[in-house]
């Protein structure tokens, strides 16, 4: 009898990129529900806009690069970018802002660097930063969360859709009526003008630990993140690194007891910290690759988030922290190669000579 020939191994892999990306999307569902509950239906519209433009950008670039559509579009990586962007955007965002972020992320940050697997920067964060710089007004317009304060205004689905499409509010509303400084803004401005953290904690936008609403979005995000950890879609090093990078410096300064630093819990449960730790920093393509490297990479992001929030000029620092550490990735990878079995262990005595 004659047989076909092939090279070992003769076992088919059990995972694939598409299923990994799909599971990342599933894991975002609890966070999405919490987001919509606290900030309204704007998230859904942002998601739709981001998905359309990410898919369109991906398809166009694949066409221009002469690549097959099906495998690349079916790997859901563009959808993960879209979802992360939707989370990063303020709940009320006109479509062109989201579209700019989506197109820049997919076209420039992803495809011009060689497509999936070759991008140096996290596409979602690159797109977000471009939108932040290009549309500072829209990108800093945050509505108050449900239960945020007594006189918050909640837009109907129709009004939200209208705002997303046209950028204009109903006649009876003004930007001032619906927008609020985010907890991160309050704390940054307050601490900078010599208030203590305890004084700032009584603001209605502040919750039990972090910002009101934000802290629950964080909790729900962490549920999805824990699920990803259990499914081994992500490994513990990066989330742990990010959280430690944020908690260690903020904790040290807070527990000095001078009152001029916010609590580590506040930073943990405000803004995009949890989303970053489990979903953004863990993007494997732009992250460091060895286990030790990932700890360092994560820690760097966490520390930078804290540094930007505390001393920088932006209220949240997630996107900048991620992009900065993306740049450091090749060096981290080079310096953290694990010990190869059978090779001599490094001699580390020179330091004390």
């Amino acid at each position: 009898m004659e047989f076909e020939r092939r090279d070992a191994p003769f076992v088919t892999p059990s995972t694939d990129v598409a299923s990994i990306m799909r599971q990342v999307l599933y894991a975002l569902i609890p966070a999405a529900i919490a987001y919509v509950w606290y900030f309204g239906s704007g998230f859904v519209f942002n998601l739709i806009v981001a998905a359309i433009f990410c898919a369109a950008g991906e398809a166009t670039m694949l066409h221009l690069r002469g690549k097959a559509f099906e495998p690349a579009l079916a790997d859901y990586s563009a959808m993960v970018t879209a979802a992360l962007l939707a989370f990063a955007m303020p709940a009320l965002t006109p479509w062109w802002v989201t579209a700019t972020a989506a197109l820049f992320g997919i076209v420039v940050a992803k495809h011009l660097y060689g497509g999936l697997g070759f991008n140096i920067f996290n596409p979602a964060m690159a797109g977000y930063v471009v939108a932040l710089v290009a549309f500072p007004l829209h990108m800093n317009l945050w509505t108050a969360p449900r239960m945020g304060d007594i006189d918050y205004q909640f837009l109907t689905i129709y009004e939200t859709a209208r705002y997303t499409l046209t950028g204009s509010l109903p006649d009876y509303l003004s930007f001032d009526a619906i927008s609020r400084a985010t907890p991160l803004d309050i704390v940054k401005a307050g601490l900078n003008s010599m208030h203590t953290f305890d004084e700032l904690s009584i603001y209605p936008m502040m919750g039990d630990f972090g910002g009101r609403g934000w802290e629950w979005i964080g909790n729900f995000t962490a549920i999805g993140g824990a699920w990803l950890l259990l499914r081994k879609i992500i490994r513990w090093q990066i989330p742990f690194g990010v959280l430690m990078g944020l908690l260690v410096p903020s904790g040290l300064l807070y527990f000095l007891g001078t009152g001029v630093h916010a609590s580590p819990g506040f930073y943990l449960f405000s803004g995009g910290t949890i989303l970053c730790a489990f979903f953004i920093a863990t993007d494997p393509v732009s992250a460091a690759t060895s286990p030790k490297g990932r700890l360092i990479y994560g820690f760097g992001i966490g520390f930078l988030i804290y540094a930007i929030r505390r001393w920088g000029s932006y209220a949240d620092g997630v996107a900048f922290a991620v992009l900065l550490m993306n740049m450091a990735t090749p060096a981290i990878d080079y310096l953290t190669r694990p010990h190869i079995v059978g090779h001599p262990k490094k001699i580390r005595s020179t330091k004390h000579d």
């Binding site: 020939r5 070992a8 892999p13 059990s14 694939d16 494997p284 694990p338 190869i340 059978g342 090779h343």
Partner: protein
């Protein structure tokens, strides 16, 4: 002396693979009948091919030497049954994936008459270790775990190093393969006998039989045999079932917590590893005078109707023994010699069972290979790599053909276990890529060596010619000087003597 115990060292990574061994271990080992023809490749081992010492038409007896070891690294081949040499020709072999290689073809007479033994076997204890090693060399014994390194040479090399451990490798970690498991279940005593012979040959005072935890029957029967033998020098060790802990270097690391140095041998850390089937074969040869002419082979896979283990004569064509396992199923599509992780796929079942054949795996059509996608650097490959390499980085450097980085990232340390392939979500055939990169690296090294040789040749030729030139110039100068000293008369004499009369002395001749 009580054997010292060791903490089990931790192997990095690895995979818990489904064993798939139940089907082939349900029945006892079947004895395969004498086939009509035996096909014996003269290369069944690592090293130089054996030299045939029989002619076409020659009658043979079972156990007779038919090809002798040639050179320092080689192993002899013996006739597995009685019959007649009908040809020495090219035949498909598994070592070359079904391509042809030189083989001695024996037509069996079915009588299976064994060669008259000149002597009853001496007890091995009466032999000096050196003589024992020489005897093992003559038995055609090679490593039966799949590497087929000539055993005697491996042991001789080992005696030159300070040794602490003899490890008997009963860690058959690849899925589907169960020949060692069955051998340990049914012939534990043979294996232990071989272990004692090995200890004597190596001058070691204790040894470890290492068996995986998924083989309770084998552990049980070895335990019983050890109780009967009552030899305190042998310790039975159970290790967790993780692929690829049965690799030689991995086993050493697992049991002794010592890392075999890159490019080195287990003897560099005081260890010798022998497969349990090799030990049993040594026992058969030393105690029963039966050279390596048969082995246990697993026939299994979803392309086989009734998977089973058989003891077959070396040289039996695979097509002859498939019937013992109930034949092929309709789904049979691919034949692999060895296991699913590291085996060799062959194009035809005409290939004979050889010393290396531990498993005949017939698989149904694999899922059509999904198209290779870009690496997303998820790092799963690095998490499972037993050598702690970074396959994702190696892959990049292999694509870029960056030899320096490939070396820095330890490509040559890759044992090609295939773990990274199995966990890759992008379906990248990493092991195949690394195999190719290694070959390419070797090619480059060869090319470099060739260029270096050519350069040396060229330079030495230049030097030689320069030397020749200066020598000639010096000679001429010396002649000229001699002529000047001797004066014109001498020159005339010379000219006359050489008969060049037509040459007249010049007018300016002082005479």
């Amino acid at each position: 002396m009580t054997a010292p115990t060791y903490d089990l060292g931790k192997l990095h990574g690895g995979l818990r693979l489904p064993g798939e061994k139940a089907a082939s271990t349900a029945r006892d080992i079947l004895e395969a009948p004498v086939p009509e023809q035996l096909i014996l490749p003269i290369t069944q081992h690592v090293g130089a091919a054996a030299q045939p010492v029989v002619g076409i038409g020659e009658r043979l007896l079972k156990g007779q030497l038919i090809a002798e070891a040639d050179g320092p690294l080689s192993a002899p081949v013996h006739a597995p049954s009685s019959g007649k040499v009908v040809a020495i020709e090219l035949w498909p072999v598994s070592r070359r994936h079904g391509e042809k290689a030189p083989c001695i073809i024996i037509e069996c007479d079915g009588e299976d008459r064994a060669i008259e033994l000149a002597e009853t076997p001496e007890p091995y204890t009466s032999l000096q270790p050196d003589a024992l090693l020489q005897k093992i060399l003559q038995g055609g014994i090679v490593g039966l775990g799949g590497a087929v390194f000539p055993t005697a040479q491996k042991l001789m090399q080992a005696t030159t190093a300070p040794l602490t451990h003899l490890l008997l490798n009963g860690v058959e970690c690849e899925p589907f393969i169960s020949c060692d498991d069955m051998l340990m279940r049914e012939h534990a005593m043979e294996m232990l006998g071989g272990t004692r012979i090995l200890m004597h040959a190596l001058g070691l005072e204790h040894s470890y039989v290492v068996v995986e935890s998924d083989k309770p029957e084998a552990l049980h029967s070895i335990g019983e045999a050890m109780a009967d033998l009552n030899d305190p020098r042998i310790t039975l060790k159970q290790v967790p079932t993780i692929y690829p802990s049965g690799g030689e270097d991995q086993l050493v690391q697992l049991v002794t917590n010592r890392e075999v140095p890159s490019g080195g041998l287990p003897t560099d850390v005081g260890c010798v590893v022998q497969n349990v089937a090799t030990a049993a074969a040594i026992h058969r040869w030393i105690a029963n005078n039966e050279p390596l002419i048969s082995r246990v082979v697993t026939i299994t896979g979803d392309g086989i109707a009734q998977p089973v283990n058989i003891r077959a004569r070396i040289g039996t064509p695979i097509s002859d023994v498939i019937g013992l396992a109930g034949g092929y199923t309709e789904r049979a599509n691919r034949m692999v010699i060895g296991g699913p992780m590291t085996g060799k796929s062959v194009s035809t079942d005409q290939v004979p069972i050889v010393k290396a054949t531990n498993c005949i795996l017939v698989l149904s059509k694999l899922m059509p290979l999904a198209e290779e996608k870009p690496c997303i650097r998820c790092g799963e490959c690095a998490a499972v790599c037993p050598i702690q390499l970074l396959p994702q980085q190696l892959f990049w450097h292999a694509c870029a053909d960056n030899e320096k980085q490939l070396r820095a990232h330890g490509l040559t340390d890759c044992i090609e276990c295939g773990c990274c392939d199995l966990v890759c979500p992008s379906y990248i055939p990493l092991t195949e890529d690394f195999r190719r990169a290694k070959a390419r690296m070797q090619e480059l090294a060869d090319e470099k060596a060739r260029a270096e040789r050519a350069r040396l040749r060229f330079e030495s030729r230049n030097e030689r010619m320069e030397l020749e030139q200066t020598r000639r110039e010096e000679e001429l100068a010396a002649q000229k000087e001699a002529a000047l000293i001797a004066g014109p008369g001498a020159i005339r004499d010379i000219l006359e003597r050489t008969g060049k009369k037509d040459r007249q002395p010049s007018n300016g001749d002082p005479e």
